[in-house]
Symmetry: D2
Subunit: 324 residues, 4 copies
């Protein structure tokens, strides 16, 4: 930790700060300059909020040196992580494609699964209430299994993990639940891949801290997923595709992109899907509307859009030598 | 709902849109202009996402007319709501003051409670893990009861409601949990006041939709609380004090402000507390550090700051004739 | 314009609103519903700020139907605009590449120009103070001309246009100057291409309104350029690549992307350059550092990065059939 | 400057960084830790962009220690600055009130001036095109002089300064022009007060850097003005009232607030005006509509709102002992 005192800070103020650092277990190195006194501290940085020091009298700024996540950090696995999800590897040379459907009937799921498998989709995500002995969930499980797809279900509270674990091969945490510490800790005890979506108010550091909470429980199969941030631009989200190179610099975990949630618009999602792959994403999460065209939600791609889009993104992946 | 077709939209596109509206239960009124065709629809707006229409071919824009919240809206109770919280009224002429302590020991809670009561604080909020037969929680309950304070506890998941309800007189939803639909629905079944904090990524509409989810369950004792939004300005939150007049225009619910969470800084919180009261807030939620000065968290006021601040904000309330 | 009255608005309030609309030249159509009265107005929308009506008593919301830009809008030229810039077409099948250097010496410019031309760069942008008889500007002009590059210079105030016009074949408006109405109007009188950068606080509508101000003067050769927006994510800018499909939907003007300014980081710019092309950008604006590696600014690519990056983005363009 | 090397940075990388620092004139102190090597540098920090170092191989983070503004910083004048504006002091015990009118006729200005003077307004700001021998500007000058008001005019380009200086007693820089370096330098050569508005995309540091550019020219009479920032909340601006305590901590310059521009809404401005004064603002800038009620712009207060608002804000100022 590095702490800079204000111009004109008194010796007593410097001493108060040093005392607090020592109390917290830091070894302090002091450097007295013409204008500013600088204190370097080696110790339990992760347990300290630098802002707490910045509110002490005479302190100008205080910064961490070490990261607030360890296991999610790139130095932990410099070569990168590949997550085994069913028959597929996420973070390998092939693009991993997950398709999400909302409110589909059992019959629709049975029709959809072979179509998806045929175009190389690896996972099927179903948005539906989690219930024991539920017909839709059973149909989803059967359809996924029959066609080699991983079934993905969402969990927002820790109490939902049991049921989701029963049905699914992979669990997804929606962005809004990314901050629920109890949920993350429970997921750390699972031995199943977790798709962790970025909250629309989260920085990359926030996201890696949440991932770290899962990894610390011993579950290393975590995938990150960019799905848009809240900005002044629009009532919808803004896609922050720079997350891809940034997360890959700071972390070893695979990075996915959800251009449907991230833009909220079927009309913009294909362009952002192509951009994501060109920027180095390890895969895509795409919403598909299973029913008739005139009832599709704004963010859901029409089935007819899927095949051409997958052809395009694979051509891009190949153009940047991803698959070699 | 009002829907504007693009310049040059075809008759077939107009018809597709009308068909979808009618299917959803809308009565449609069509107005054909020189440049734009406009469709007005009366029907189940709350069940429709206007973006779904905007992604249909030929549609330029689609807007709701009615609000997405009914019970939380001002027209439901034009005169405003007063929430009875213990011996106090929130939304009445007196400022309601809630003080939060984190990680306090039973002994500290016992010392703090009479001090707070003596300066007119109405509620004591304790941040501590929820556990049955927990010594700290029991001490908090005793101390609050002995001095006429409402005890406030936080709930992040619906499973925590039982214990919180057992100990506390009021439940608080932290901003990050404001989106958890299941939690809000459970709180609607309680008959205890709920303090609903605004997520740092929520608009006022988002907040009122969440409040509505509690009210729909029959629990009308909901207080809104501004606690900062995420902007480009700072790693901390930015206080959006304009929420006060805006929420009061659109809703009948009392509006509180938490300047400690909202700024994350003891040095900025008093100015924002004064500003909040001057802008018409019904009360304040303030963090206090119970221990020695040199260990206080950045956002926690020192006990010595409390009394002068309360004197100031009451003088301001009186200057704007709040208490008459 | 469409105006919705509040629930319970009085007849007098409705009449006041109608009177103001009529005074402003609108023909008003009234529709009285069970809950809301809706007023539709046909008239001079572009001269009206809907917020002015929303502050009138009894008004719930007021929205424009027509766009605030006409000439920059897609319906004005449905097939899209191609801007002729020297020997190149921006918005054509080939990617247009502009390279920017800051603080280069005349000798460096002379060395750089043939290298850039050799790899297919179309334009050279030089950041240097504008001065008459300036050696650097003369060298830039000579070097650009000798190698078939368009010389691009920046203008921030209308008084700079004369000199920039003298030296350059194209003028660039930095994002921060995008709002200067006088500057835009002067540029409308030029007959030279203008590269209009998006301010980091501008929506796509803001950008198209600024472009419109140039087009209205009769200068139709305007290119839009995304160069990052200010969000909570980082002290740098966040690239908003969704601007590409959005601007192409609403406007006929070519869309460029500046991934160097937009990320502020050499390490992130190549990924964003690839993403931009995959998303459909018509070209790229790239910062290059002309001197030795150890003195490069954070956002400037090293010369050795340029050639591989151009190879990659062309492969992507070809993968999505841009060049056919 | 403090620079932290990445975990595992090579000795060669460390040496490259040290070489660049020394080349730039820094004296470097090296501290080799178990995990991170830290380099402290004393030298010309203001001329260096820390991001430039962060893009060098092996560097984790780089931070300035000294501020990027000197003359605008609090240590330059710890007791604070009072700006003499006509007969009034800005930053003194009395609240300084400036009223802005747009598009007023000469007759309206003559009527308005005595009314404003009578309720203690100190300055009249007129939004009108700057032209020599202009009737409106002459009327504004006469009316202001006759009633002891400072006349304030806006300048967006440096070429406008001459005329504005001729007519006005104070110059205002609208937020959008806050970044124009040439304009700020010219204003530094004036000997007249400058009201510097914050851009809606500026941090407090950005604002103080712009103020510094004026002060460096020898013009110390600069007032800062918060007028709203762009966030996800609304198409309008969000008021960032925390700027008041923050700017007062870091700078000695007076801080004003413009609640009309900052909210864009007559209905929200009074609450924010009260809040600003309670938070410690030195004054207010308020839009007034001079004509009939039914034609007022959304952000302009009606004349009838002014007097009660001034009474309220003065009562608040008095409640917090501002005027004693």
């Amino acid at each position: 930790m590095i702490l800079v005192m204000q111009e004109g800070a008194t010796e007593e103020q410097v001493q108060d700060v040093i005392d607090r650092m020592v109390d917290l277990g830091f070894t302090v190195h002091r450097s007295t300059g013409v204008v500013h006194t600088v204190l370097g501290g080696v110790g339990p940085e992760e347990a300290v909020n630098p802002a707490d020091f910045e509110e002490m009298a005479g302190v100008k700024q205080c910064r961490r040196i070490t990261s607030r996540y360890k296991l999610a950090g790139r130095p932990f696995r410099p070569a990168g992580t590949q997550v085994k999800a069913g028959n597929h590897l996420v973070g390998g040379s092939a693009l991993w494609i997950c398709v999400t459907v909302s409110g589909a009937s059992p019959a629709q799921l049975e029709t959809l699964a072979p179509t998806l498998a045929a175009v190389g989709v690896a996972a099927l995500r179903v948005r539906t209430p989690l219930r024991a002995n539920d017909e839709t969930l059973q149909a989803a499980q059967r359809a996924a299994a029959a066609h080699g797809l991983s079934l993905v279900l969402e969990v927002s509270e820790s109490t939902e993990i049991g049921l989701a674990d029963w049905y699914a091969g992979m669990l997804a945490v929606p962005g809004r639940s990314m901050w629920q510490r109890g949920l993350l800790e429970e997921l750390g005890r699972l031995r199943k891949p977790v798709l962790l979506e970025r909250s629309n108010a989260a920085t990359v550091e926030d996201l890696l801290i949440s991932a770290d909470a899962i990894l610390r429980g011993g579950n290393y199969d975590v995938m990150l997923c960019e799905s848009g941030i809240r900005t002044f631009v629009t009532a919808q989200n803004t896609m922050d595709l720079a997350l891809i190179p940034v997360a890959k610099k700071y972390s070893h975990l695979p990075v996915l992109v959800d251009p449907c949630l991230g833009t909220g618009r079927r009309g913009m999602a294909p362009a952002m899907a192509r951009a994501a792959v060109a920027a180095g994403a390890d895969g895509l999460s795409l919403d598909i509307h299973p029913g008739s065209e005139s009832s599709a939600a704004a963010q859901a791609l029409l089935p007819a859009q899927l095949m051409p889009l997958l052809t395009e993104v694979r051509a891009i992946a190949s153009a940047i030598q991803r698959s070699t």
